[in-house]
């Protein structure tokens, strides 16, 4: 940074990332990098059947394997179950317990049954092979039809028809009449494949009892350190202060690490039992097949339109396959409740009815995954508009134009109030870019040559800044939402700031420091962030739902401003003037209007007074320099928005979908660090494309998952992910202290819908429309090469 730049605000500028130096040098510290004296290594005996009673489990041979130190079952460790709860009547929600280690029954292939601890990971793995488990198999429940049948086998005895959540949140009076009288009704039946969020660093933990602190130190890669502390202390029956959760560098999470896993709790229990540190690192096979999955949903939806293409009503039935257990803290309600509440999205939908269900099956359990249900319901709604446009002979962009919300704040039929956004502007700009680049002409020319080029859009908003009130509407029994920050200046004038959010790639060390440095007029190099340590950070809800900068960043900003007030008050007292006459900028504390040397102090000089010469402070100012602030969003949150435009070409011979162009116009309010925002968009889009075209975990008839290695789970590489050009719009948010809206999930939300629409546009001459993701080469090939009629 040059000297001139130093005085300018940092927010809004792509300053160098603070976290990079260590990460590019191989000096990051991830969970598996931790080594402690006497540390042992854990692996889990996992179920090989999808559904069954455990008849017997014999670990005696395991314990005899050279290098194995111990092996424990649930009964050996006596750990309390994890139970996620919604405060809803039983007709809407059935709570089910998730034992840390399965006791009587197994419910999916890969479910942990016992923990084996060895001198190293190889020895623990040797031990697994000697485990002897006998099951009385039960018929596996693997699909919606089987799960919901009248005489269904039950995954959990307490959940009739395998239904954990069944809510009908909205039903506009007279909606059936609207459908009956409508000019046109279009329907879609959309299904989406089960996906793995797939952070490149698998889950893992290192646990040990610290005698000096009288604490269990659990170092684990989690997006929600305080919530892991709560569950660990309850499962292990310790006071919460006797558990400290510390998160080192984290290699991604994408939601998979924002729920409490069973293995880290079991590892902690084993460490307590053995009096030695225990490390568990999930291997990729377990991460693929037995970790938390997401996204397997089925939507039956219809929409009514008038002659002008205006939407009159939306009616949807949503079924989400949540797998074997309800995750903590979000529960199995996470997907159906999100879909039900937010489906109308960016459109003025006057009448709405929805039923959302979560079913339980013998598959690996689900957790939130970047975007939670929004990639799916956006796809559904965007498909409805595309289909209506076709049937009404309207341009697909024009029909959206006629329906997007343009007057803000807008309260929707779903009782949500949307803050100002640029829905129409983003749509117009995105279309213009695609048109100006000549893609419409290319499409026409290609068609004449018999090539299949299609253009697709997705226009959507992303609710971020979920405060407590938004989560309370969901009736979670633990209600996330607020965040607390503390800013502390030491006698050298350097600052430490805490946040309850947890970066796993989102650059918090940089962006939070930008916010603090601006508020205090301090050089960014003098600001350091503490996150992911329950002893250092007062409290926080971690990082998910794009809440870090909206909620966490706002708390950081308010705390920094409070500390700034104190600095000003001290300086004013020293100068015998008013605090308003003191400004903090450019690395200095200045007296307004003054230009002499005695009108400038350094932060250090003020800090020295606050700590070392407290006798100089006026009576009404306490010694020390700390400030704390809490921030919450008290309305329905804030809505980032975007339009994605995609051009694809389908290859006749192979069925391959090639993305020729990807344009993203996004609006996340004030962008603290534009490069980071673009990084979030691009990464999100890559994951969205992955869901649209490549990744799926399927199960065979006995419940074996298809994806147990990267040979079977097709993660796109640089050859499949196109360059993305990003255009920024900025509608500052009125509800957050930073003017920012969240930017973490939009890419993932928009990509599947835009890609699916583009593919269907390219398929138009064939008469086939696809409504399932991932779109495989086989389906595209079949659509392009229909079998000759015999």
């Amino acid at each position: 940074m040059t000297r001139q730049e130093r005085g300018r605000p940092l927010v809004g500028r792509s300053v160098p990332r603070r976290e990079d130096r260590r990460l590019v040098s191989g000096r990051g510290r991830f969970v598996d990098d931790i080594a402690l004296p006497g540390m042992l290594h854990a692996q889990f005996v996992r179920s090989t059947v999808a559904h069954g009673e455990i008849m017997s489990m014999d670990l005696s041979a395991v314990r005899r394997v050279p290098g194995v130190v111990a092996a424990f079952t649930a009964d050996d460790l006596a750990i309390a179950d994890i139970t996620a709860q919604l405060g809803r009547p039983r007709s809407q929600f059935v709570p089910t317990a998730m034992p840390v280690l399965a006791r009587d029954k197994v419910r999916y292939v890969g479910e942990p049954l016992a923990i084996v601890v060895g001198l190293d990971a190889y020895a623990a793995e040797d031990g697994l092979e000697a485990a002897h488990v006998e099951y009385a198999p039960l018929p596996p429940v693997l699909g919606e039809e089987t799960a919901l049948a009248d005489d269904a086998v039950l995954v959990h005895d307490e959940a009739a028809r395998n239904t954990l959540v069944d809510v009908s949140l909205f039903a506009t009076d007279g909606i059936d009449d609207i459908f009956d009288a409508a000019h046109r009704v279009v329907e879609v039946d959309v299904t989406t494949g089960r996906q793995n969020a797939l952070p490149l660093e698998t889950r893992g933990a290192v646990a040990h009892w610290d005698d000096r602190e009288e604490q269990l130190l659990l170092q684990t890669c989690t997006q929600v350190p305080h919530q892991v502390r709560t569950v660990a202390s309850r499962c292990l029956r310790l006071d919460e202060r006797a558990v400290r959760v510390v998160v080192p560098d984290m290699g991604g999470g994408f939601g998979q690490k924002c729920v409490v896993g069973r293995e880290e709790i079991a590892a902690a229990a084993a460490a307590l039992r053995l009096g030695r540190p225990v490390k568990w690192i999930e291997d990729r096979k377990d991460a693929l097949s037995a970790s938390f999955l997401a996204r397997e949903q089925h939507y039956r939806a219809r929409a009514a339109f008038d002659t002008d293409g205006r939407i009159l009503a939306l009616d949807a039935d949503v079924v989400c396959d949540m797998g074997a257990y309800s995750c903590y803290p979000f529960t199995a309600g996470i997907e159906p409740l999100m879909a039900s509440a937010e489906m109308p999205g960016v459109y003025k939908v006057p009448a709405y009815r929805v039923r959302g269900r979560a079913i339980t099956t013998n598959k690996a359990p689900t957790a939130p995954y970047r975007g939670v249900s929004r990639p799916q319901y956006v796809m559904v709604v965007e498909r409805l508009f595309e289909r209506a446009a076709r049937e009404l002979g309207l341009d697909p962009v024009e029909i959206r134009r006629r329906n997007v919300i343009t007057d803000f704040p807008y309260t929707g039929v779903n009782d949500i109030t949307y803050d100002p956004g640029s829905y129409l502007e983003s749509l117009n700009l995105c279309e213009r870019v695609v048109r100006d680049e000549g893609w419409y002409d290319t499409r026409t020319a290609a068609a004449a040559e018999g090539r299949h080029i299609g253009i697709g859009y997705a226009c959507f908003s992303e609710r971020t800044g979920y405060g407590s009130s938004a989560f309370a509407q969901r009736k979670m029994q633990v209600v996330p939402g607020f965040d607390i920050s503390e800013v502390r200046m030491d006698t050298s004038g350097a600052v430490t700031v805490t946040t309850g959010t947890m970066s796993h790639g989102q650059s918090h060390e940089t962006t939070m420091a930008q916010i603090v440095a601006d508020a205090l007029g301090l050089d960014i190099a003098r600001v350091r962030l503490h996150q992911g340590d329950t002893d250092r950070v007062t409290y926080g809800w971690g990082t998910f739902a794009s809440r870090s900068i909206t909620v966490g960043g706002s708390a950081v900003r308010l705390a920094a401003e409070r500390l700034g007030d104190k600095l000003r008050a001290i300086a004013a007292a020293l100068w015998d003037t008013e605090p308003e006459q003191v400004e903090l900028a450019g690395g200095h504390v200045r007296r307004r209007g003054g230009d002499g040397a005695h009108d400038v102090l350094t932060h250090q000089e003020i800090a020295e007074v606050a700590y070392l010469r407290a006798d100089l402070l006026p009576k009404d100012i306490e010694p020390g320099l700390t400030a704390t602030a809490t921030f919450d969003v008290f309305n329905d949150g804030t809505f980032s928005n975007a339009t994605h435009g995609v051009v694809v070409e389908l290859h006749q011979g192979t069925g391959k979908v090639e993305i020729l162009r990807y344009v993203c116009v996004e609006d996340c309010g004030v962008a603290i660090h534009p490069q980071v925002v673009e990084g979030q968009c691009r990464g999100g889009i890559a994951q969205g494309i992955a869901g649209a075209l490549y990744e799926e975990v399927t199960y065979d008839a006995v419940g074996e998952p298809s994806a147990t290695s990267f040979m079977d789970y097709k993660v796109p590489t640089a050859q499949e992910i196109p360059e993305v050009s990003i255009h920024h719009l900025e509608t500052p948010c009125a509800f957050t202290a930073t003017g920012a809206k969240g930017a973490g999930e939009g890419g993932t939300i928009g990509a599947p819908a835009a890609v699916l629409n583009a593919v269907n546009d390219a398929l138009r001459p064939t008469g086939t429309e696809l409504d399932h993701t991932p779109i495989t080469p086989q389906t595209v090939h079949r659509a392009l090469n229909p079998e000759p009629v015999p």
Binding site: V24, D33, D249, G505, E678, G679, I685, Q719
Partner: protein, 177 residues
């Protein structure tokens, strides 16, 4: 097959590894992979493990200057070879041009895949300094990143290659000579 190749997996052996110009002697089981020995015995934890089955490339290191997946190789197989890990790139506290390019182009988010990509690029550019952006994209497709969407990784490597060529054009004797 000689007798010592029939050792049981748990039998330890003494091996000598040349890593980042230093000689290390390790007593380790024959079945231990190179990445595990680098990370856990030598405590060079910069090299990461993402899959242990040769697809993700997080474990990429240079063995005799060529990018290799350290999870697919036993440590014993690397005896006598020159191994380079991410820890060798910086000169003390001075980051290399490639490392700086990654940071400048925001080619990393969580940074877990980064050492693998850096070593992949380091090996590739040494072999093909004239690489085009398309070739770079093709090579980058050998490794997985779950955060960035790859574009900035390709741009970082391309920028580094371009800058090296520019510097070379000014100082190196021309190729035809």
């Amino acid at each position: 097959m000689t007798d010592d190749t029939l050792m049981t997996p748990r039998e330890p052996q003494l091996i000598a590894l040349n890593v980042n110009g230093e000689r290390h002697e390790v007593i380790t089981e024959a079945r231990r992979t190179l990445v595990d020995v680098l990370r856990h015995e030598l405590r060079l934890t910069g090299t990461h493990v993402g899959c242990e089955h040769g697809i993700c490339g997080a474990c990429t290191v240079l063995v005799d200057d060529r990018p290799v997946r350290a999870c697919l190789m036993f440590a014993a197989q690397a005896e006598g070879a020159r191994i380079r890990t991410v820890e060798s790139l910086a000169d003390g506290n001075r980051l290399s041009d490639l490392q700086r390019a990654f940071s400048e182009h925001h080619a990393l988010q969580c940074g877990f895949c980064t050492p693998g990509f850096l070593m992949l690029a380091e090996g590739f550019l040494a072999e093909r300094p004239e690489a085009t952006k398309e070739e770079i994209r093709e090579v980058v497709a050998a490794n997985m990143c779950r955060c960035t969407g790859y574009q900035t990784i390709v741009e970082a490597i391309d920028a580094c290659a371009t800058a090296r060529r520019r510097a070379c054009a000014q100082t190196c004797p021309s190729k035809e000579d």
